[in-house]
């Protein structure tokens, strides 16, 4: 079959793409000069010519057939127009030696594959969002975010709303938490103040192809003097994603941003790692030079989430006290000292074991106790542990 055909009924057709081939195309798509699509399949041949069946399809029908939503048999046997074209070509000719309409119900089954056989080609069923996100941010005077989500096993530009909803909620929650951490003293729990919620609010402003792409726009317009607060939150979110799986860097960054951000970033990572193969975030502000992007795969999102779950903040503080030794266990390496009406108990450092073995309960000692303060960043759970690192008898108790 020639790549360019001239058919009286259909006009000039130009080959669009080939699906099946054996020494020549057997099943392919053509477009006419107005952009209308036709599927064409070879149905018979002899030594001088071959016969084809053509079906006109709308753009939506074309997308459904191409992506496997509708089988090849139905493309012809249930044509939108109710008929197909049966056309014969002499080898090498661009113009048919016969052409005519054939009603769908009259198409011999030998012309078509079995029912259920589909093309299953990845097909963008929505127009792509413009690549020029910075330009659009200026035009709309808003901070824009393009969230590009690669859903698995999806041949069309469609996304499950429950999964999409989860990701969008996690994204907004993360931006709110970052906004709160940046603008005021962050709270670990409870409601985020209304002023933070309103300045960080994002609106869904567009969807497009590219697996599945969402455009989010700041609810508030940018002000040249006071840039939309959301820009800082988005920038921070992008920086977090850029860190990827580096546990130490994540710890440092999240320690600055506090617990709520860690928790919400964990929520964001969990939502994307549960639902999508990869995620890309691009953002742009109407202000010059303010833009960025980051991407993360499902696997890296899982690794980063696991790292966050393990993050602890540790602080050490050595306290010098004079107090009464009220308890000690050489076998368990435990100690108990009361000083200034406060009871310290914990573990004994190995360097102090010998001194402790000669110590007398009830006597007063000068002790150095190391206070280790652990904070689980993600849960906010705090724990303080004491270690006895020095013990010196004082006063009359000196033996």
């Amino acid at each position: 079959m020639n790549p360019v055909l001239r058919i009286k009924e259909l006009g000039q057709l130009i080959q669009y793409e080939v699906y099946d081939y054996y020494d020549e195309p057997l099943f392919l798509a053509y477009r006419d000069e107005l952009g209308h699509f036709y599927f064409a399949r070879i149905v018979n041949e002899d030594t001088e010519s071959n016969e084809w069946i053509f079906v006109a399809v709308s753009q939506n029908r074309f997308n459904m057939i191409r992506s496997g939503g509708l089988d090849i048999n139905s493309a012809f046997s249930q044509a939108e127009l109710g008929y197909c074209y049966h056309i014969g070509f002499k080898f090498g000719s661009q113009t048919p030696f016969f052409e005519g309409k054939i009603n769908c119900e009259s198409i011999p089954q030998s012309f078509l594959p079995h029912q259920g056989i589909t093309l299953n080609l990845k097909t963008e069923t929505l127009p792509k969002l413009s690549e020029q996100i910075s330009e659009r941010a200026i035009q709309t005077k808003r901070v824009l975010v393009n969230l590009h989500l690669e859903f698995p096993n999806n041949l069309r530009t469609e996304a499950p709303i429950s999964k999409l909803g989860e990701i969008l909620i996690a994204t907004q929650d993360l931006l709110n938490a970052i906004g709160q951490a940046q603008k005021e003293r962050a709270t670990t729990r409870g409601v985020v103040p209304q002023n933070i919620l309103s300045t960080n609010e994002m609106l869904l402003s567009g969807i497009g192809a590219g697996s599945f792409e969402l455009e989010l726009a700041s609810a508030t317009l940018s002000n040249l003097l006071d840039e939309a607060a959301i820009a800082d939150s988005i920038n921070e979110m992008v920086k977090l994603i850029q860190i990827g799986t580096d546990g130490e860097k994540l710890k440092n960054r999240l320690s600055q941003l506090k617990i709520r951000v860690a928790s919400k970033y964990l929520g964001f990572l969990t939502s994307i790692s549960n639902e999508v193969i990869s995620t890309e975030v691009k953002w742009a502000s109407p202000l010059p030079g303010k833009f960025g992007k980051a991407e993360i795969t499902k696997l890296n999102a899982q690794i980063a989430a696991d790292s966050i779950k393990r993050i602890e903040e540790n602080k050490f503080n050595d306290i010098e006290v004079i107090g009464q030794l009220v308890g000690a266990s050489l076998s368990q390496h435990d100690f108990e000292i009361i000083a200034s009406e406060k009871k310290y108990y914990g573990k004994v450092d190995t360097s102090v074991i010998d001194i402790l073995s000669g110590a007398i309960l009830g006597n007063t000692y000068q002790a150095v106790i190391r206070e280790k303060h652990n904070l689980k960043v993600i849960t906010g759970d705090e724990e303080t542990i004491y270690f006895l690192i020095s013990l010196v008898p004082i006063g009359d108790d000196l033996q």
Binding site: Y19, Y22, D23, E24, F27, R41, I42, F91
Partner: protein, 126 residues
Amino acid sequence: MTNWPQNYLPNCPPDDAELPDGVYYHFIDGNSASEFDFKCKFEKNPGYTNNCQAHGISMIKDLDDITNYREAYINIFGNKKVVEIRMNNNMGVIKNTPSVCAKSHYTWWKPIDIKPWDLCKILEEE
């Protein structure tokens, strides 16, 4: 030096084509393979578009794909016999050019001194 037909276009066969190795299958029209069965589309029909694939010959690697072609295009392949050819790296180059119904479809660019009709045998089918 491979002896390609003189009418090949520049960059044909493509650089990413590979040396063939192993058994491949090909549909033939009659009861035994003939030179005509191994003519490319462009040789059979010089008025056909002069692209590189039109100078190649379709070959199938996986027998299941023979069945797929027959089921999808019963009027074209239903009664055709299949030959098998053991190919080696002196027989030109080959490239996987999958079809929707046959992932193991290959295009074979055959040097002019190779005569596959003498090398193939009819596949006995149940």
